[in-house]
Symmetry: C2
Subunit: 423 residues, 2 copies
Amino acid sequence: MMLAAIYVTVMGIIFAKTMCHNLLMIPGPVEFTDTVLAAAGGQPMSHMDKSFAGQFGEAIELLRQVALTKTGQPFILAGSGSLGWDIFAANFIESGEHVLVINTGYFGDRFVDTFEAYNITVTQVHTTLPGTPPSLLDVESAIKAASVPFKAVTITHVDTSTGVLMDVKKVAALVRTLLPSALIVVDGVCSFGAESLFFDDWDVDFVLTASQKALGVPPGLCVVIASQRALSVLDARSTSVPSYYANLKKWLPIMRAYEAKTPAYFATPPVQLVQALQVSLLEILRGSDMAGRFAHHVEVSNYVKDKVESWGLKLVTTSREAEAHTLTAVYLPTGVTLPDLLPKVLKQGVMIGGGLHVNIAPKYFRIGHMHISSLNTSLGHIDTTLSAIQAALLETGYDVQKQMAEPEWVPRGKSSATGHDEL
Amino acid sequence: MMLAAIYVTVMGIIFAKTMCHNLLMIPGPVEFTDTVLAAAGGQPMSHMDKSFAGQFGEAIELLRQVALTKTGQPFILAGSGSLGWDIFAANFIESGEHVLVINTGYFGDRFVDTFEAYNITVTQVHTTLPGTPPSLLDVESAIKAASVPFKAVTITHVDTSTGVLMDVKKVAALVRTLLPSALIVVDGVCSFGAESLFFDDWDVDFVLTASQKALGVPPGLCVVIASQRALSVLDARSTSVPSYYANLKKWLPIMRAYEAKTPAYFATPPVQLVQALQVSLLEILRGSDMAGRFAHHVEVSNYVKDKVESWGLKLVTTSREAEAHTLTAVYLPTGVTLPDLLPKVLKQGVMIGGGLHVNIAPKYFRIGHMHISSLNTSLGHIDTTLSAIQAALLETGYDVQKQMAEPEWVPRGKSSATGHDEL
């Protein structure tokens, strides 16, 4: 009897272990809560159901709270985050007009490609060194040197390929001073809901994001928020919007109807994913105020960065001010390759990401740390991940112990100088 | 003890009843299987995970089987079905070129709007009477009268607004004879996977659909299949594709990579929905061959149509040959309104749809009958729905009994003449 009980218990543990998925610690998709997953797999419901309209409407209202805006207009569409680039280019800029792209990596390049698909003229500001953002002076010079005033300036808040953070507040203030009517655009795919963004206070005009990052919802939703200034620009177009599905003029009455808790139809929304978003937004806002959420992401990010630096590893980002708090991009030690390291980490049940920036892709790995993996410390995702990487490094022959000086759990600003001096 | 057991059983039944969702019998979203919903709410997984690549690749292969094509190229994107119109217009037709739209209702109008957004010149063939498709002669005349040969001819296979079915096989054969190199395009949103479509045999070039109809997956996926002829047209464009997200040149290497079970990245795919699609496609193809699936949809459709006609009601479609088998659109009896009828049906736990065609929207209702609700007779969805509508009609004061002559469960061609003579 006793043996049978032990057998059942052991088999139960093995079964649970087998059923567990690999801990997903890439810079999106992230780990989701069980309630969000239950909503994503929720029962069939009509997009014209009044109760769904209520949920959709609430998701729109909650998005405003997450963006810290009173007048911004959220749009929720079925699509990948990349659709957000098309939405901006197709609606707010007309063929032949000029925009400035502040390019911090792979995703800046992609935004440029999108503009070019719409025959929009692009000027870029960027540095050649991956991991380093352009300076404010570079941005100022580009604006002043332009023969035609830019209609918009785009900022990749966090470049997911390198972990570079742009100071949206400072850039927005500069642009607003030099170009009072320009649209300030934030690619918030790997930042929205985790990095500081005060849509109204910073006078931002457009932010785009995807569901599977800091919003904590399975991939499949493209979320954008447009300012009233942006909507006026849309309204004042002299040419028609060169897209049908991405035409916000079609979607605006739909979003307004759903917000009034009335179903309306343009294209069938992804019902279950919208319900999952509503659940996740409620959970996000129940957790703490947004300032608290931003601060916690900073704290965890510093902890991770201090730790990997204490192993003698070098970050891809080259200055503390330009470090994203949603991911950490780390150069591999000499002699260690991605095909060597990543499977060893995965073997321990943790998935981290490889490199993405075209110039240095094989040379670094990326750890995502956002949403519940960052906020809910009781889950232990961060330490599990760091331990798995540490063990995997040891297995490759890299002597982590030799380099280690256990960092304190303190904000990065207060950490010992040692870690940074080694860079 | 006995009483306690009875109490538990009764409470269990009440609980199950409370937890049940309303039976969704609109023309999409449809009812989904539990396994599909479990996949839609499945655990976090990276889009770059090898096992996900395997599932994505299998979904692509299975889509070919459902479309009955060996060489057609499926694409699976995050988006609503409507995105499929943009995908066709943006990739295969260039600004200023000419297309013919065979317009059978609301969704034909929408396809026209999409072409116009891309500055494409549209000629339309349509009848003014909702529920009646244009004739082959109309199509032939339009093609012969055109000053410039049409680059494509579009067919709404099933117009979801009226339940009109187009004979894709005959139209395709006619178009191929008159315009050998034209692209034959099927809007299969409310037909793909339920209505007869033999992609290769009928020499079709492009079909678009959405996940939430006869494919039995929650909304959020746009699925299109392009022929090799279509891909050659894309390859031979003289201008660039005026979209970024909808650019199939970007997606083609991604689909090929996933089909080779290798992850690749352009935009993050909706992982869980793709997994749900793979599960649903396996279930669809396990059920019967596609011909059997098509035939079963016909049989159930005839049963529903015979039944509502036996109540003295009139269908929106005006001929048997032009009746869709995925939905039934029915005129309300005199004196009965939608706001009167639909809530009475819903009260019994069944959701059916209102009218959608702009000319007659308040005058009719729509019953969806596809996928498991049509195929799995043991679920009883069809009879539950018909009983709910019958009871609701009686409640409105319409005397169904007076009109009733219980039809046999026989293919519509064999049903008694009575039902049809009353039209």
